[in-house]
Amino acid sequence: MRETTHLVHKYLRSSKRFPHIWCAGCGIGIFMQSLIRVIDQKEYSKDDVVLISGIGCSGRLPVYVDFNTLHTTHGRALTFATGIKLAKPRLKVIAIMGDGDAIAIGGNHFIHAARRNVEIASFVINNQVYGMTGGQCSPTTPDGTITASSPYGNLEPDFNICRLAEAAGATFVGRATVYHTRLLEQLIGKAFEKKGFAMVEVVSQCVTYPGRTFGPDPAVAMMKWQRDNSITVAQASKLSEAERQGKIEIGILVDKERPTYHEEYQKLLRKKPKV
């Protein structure tokens, strides 16, 4: 409790008009707490941290915390992050996105940021729904799900965000749920340390829309569901494709080294142009 009070006073903006906009039971607050805890452990100067978000429920996160914060346009957080990191490489650049934000409207920016390997620690809070607009299906909504925009069941298969990031070249890819906060904090820490583009998928719950089908206490039910349906990367490796269906594979999926855009740019300065 004392630790929490200390973190609240140190990192939450006292000048901001609380309460926050998230529904009771939302997972974004859990992620925010983990994020703050890791930043505190790493002893980063608040002046050197830039928190950038897109649009949606997750997009509102930066306003509550006392860093350099930027709430951008829908899907474009990584483009702003790229500009900031290249213009001032000493800053710790953190991008926070939602699933629709990062993978639908921002899908192009997402893959290119991973390919380009600018040093950005990025987090995709995946609640499998467009929450702020009222519960429409997103690119991570499972096939067949009934949502506000798929009243007959979602016709499209869902994206695997981590595999997308891996295929696009991300040097660190991890997944945790907001139930597994210790793992989540480990992954956040590793993403911060990574010299390159790091992406952590944070599986979360939207208690207001999909949660309606989870009974009278959706937050607890949905987090229990996260607990019961998660398997570690090591466990998953022993299972067949069919057995992995419907499971959340948590842990570190990719951790590799590759020169960052900034390092390559420094090398370029020693060359002569060829055209």
Partner: protein, 359 residues
């Protein structure tokens, strides 16, 4: 020369050369060049770099300019200085990628959604491209707003000899910086000029930047008493300095019975036509606009009072001519001369129109 040290862009005809030159020269000048995945990303990176303290720009043409509208609005709302060069080709859609046009004039004004102020400059020569690009950076820093350089393809690809000014002769402006300690800094409070001091990310002044309506601290708001002052300030920070944005050149206007109002490559053809007309004894003059937006209605209104007839030639369906007619309110005869076939207006075409109007 203007102090630009960050460029993000995406290839598009007929603006690509700007990007290629930046790719070659900016790294050697200590700046950052990056090719992004599209024009939305380009302007996003430019705004990000500007928030980190770098003077930044991008360049594009019609279709890319359409994609950039989202972030032009963001830069207006969050008050982030940046420069966008739009090399105008004919549209709509993919249109005529290699042909000159002036058809983005209204898109520059109203392209992004919502009420917002905008400044757009239109050079008509190689020297003016240099002069107005420097001014674009200065204005963007002074007013913390995106500035659009509207350059038609003919001017953009023009080659002509110029004498470069020595660097000391060019005045370079910087954005207003906070002078108070961080704990006193209120990022969007009006200091009296309408333009709040701007701190770069990482300089110790932690604050929030958003495209939402925000209070003076930058936090989102829907309170009417906070929303209205913000939008009023965004407009008034530019309109209160309106007198400083009356940039135009006039030629033979004192006794003109017909005044031509033109900009970009058309103003060059018009000047030639007017000189020939004068040789024939026709009393005609030219106003060459350098600032397109905000429209110089006071200056134009005076011209309309003194000149019985006005001609607005453009290589579009008539965009600035609408503004002239709006200011005119029926005071004098406003004629248009529009060409929309992908070619530029020539001096004989303008001269013919002037002779027709004169008789």
């Amino acid at each position: 020369m203007a102090g630009c040290c960050f460029y993000a862009g995406y290839p598009i005809t007929p603006a690509t050369e700007i990007m290629e030159i930046m790719a070659r020269d900016l790294p050697r000048a200590g700046g950052i060049f990056i090719q992004m995945e599209d024009e939305i990303a380009s302007l996003g990176a430019v705004i990000g770099a500007s928030l980190a303290g770098a003077k930044s720009m991008t360049a594009t043409s019609g279709p890319g300019f359409s994609l950039m509208q989202e972030h032009i609005g963001f830069a207006c709302m969050a008050e982030v200085p940046c420069v966008i060069a739009d090399i105008m080709r004919a549209g709509p859609s993919t249109g005529l990628p290699t042909q000159a046009s002036q058809s983005d004039v209204m898109q520059a004004r109203w392209g992004t959604h919502g009420d917002h102020p905008i400044i757009a400059l239109a050079p008509s020569s190689v020297y003016e491209c240099l002069e107005l690009t420097v001014q674009a950076f200065n204005l963007s820093e002074r007013y913390r707003t995106p500035i659009i350089l509207l350059i038609d393809e003919a001017v953009a690809h023009m080659r002509e000899g110029i004498v470069l000014p020595s660097p000391g002769d060019i005045e370079i402006e910087e954005r207003p910086h906070p002078t108070v300690p961080p704990e006193w800094y209120i990022p969007y409070a009006d200091p009296g000029t309408g333009v709040p001091p701007m701190s770069a990310f990482g300089d110790g002044y932690r604050y929030h930047v958003t495209g939402l309506y925000h209070d003076v601290r930058g936090y989102p708001t829907i309170r009417a008493d906070e929303v209205e002052p913000l939008i009023h300030r965004l407009f008034s920070k530019i309109s209160r300095d309106f007198d400083h944005l009356q940039w135009f050149d006039s030629y033979y206007t004192e006794d003109a019975r017909i005044t031509v109002i033109a900009y970009g490559c058309v103003s060059r053809a018009a000047l030639r036509a007017i000189k020939e007309a004068r040789e024939k004894g026709l009393k005609v003059g030219l106003i060459k606009l350098k600032v397109i937006w905000p429209f110089m209605h006071c200056t134009i209104a005076k011209i309309l009072e003194n000149s019985p007839k006005v001609l607005v030639p453009e290589i579009n369906f008539g965009q600035i001519s609408r503004e002239v007619k709006r200011v005119n309110q029926g005071k004098c005869e406003v004629a248009t001369l529009n060409k929309v076939d992908g070619t530029i207006l020539t001096p004989p075409e303008i001269l013919r129109k002037l002779e027709e109007m004169y008789s």
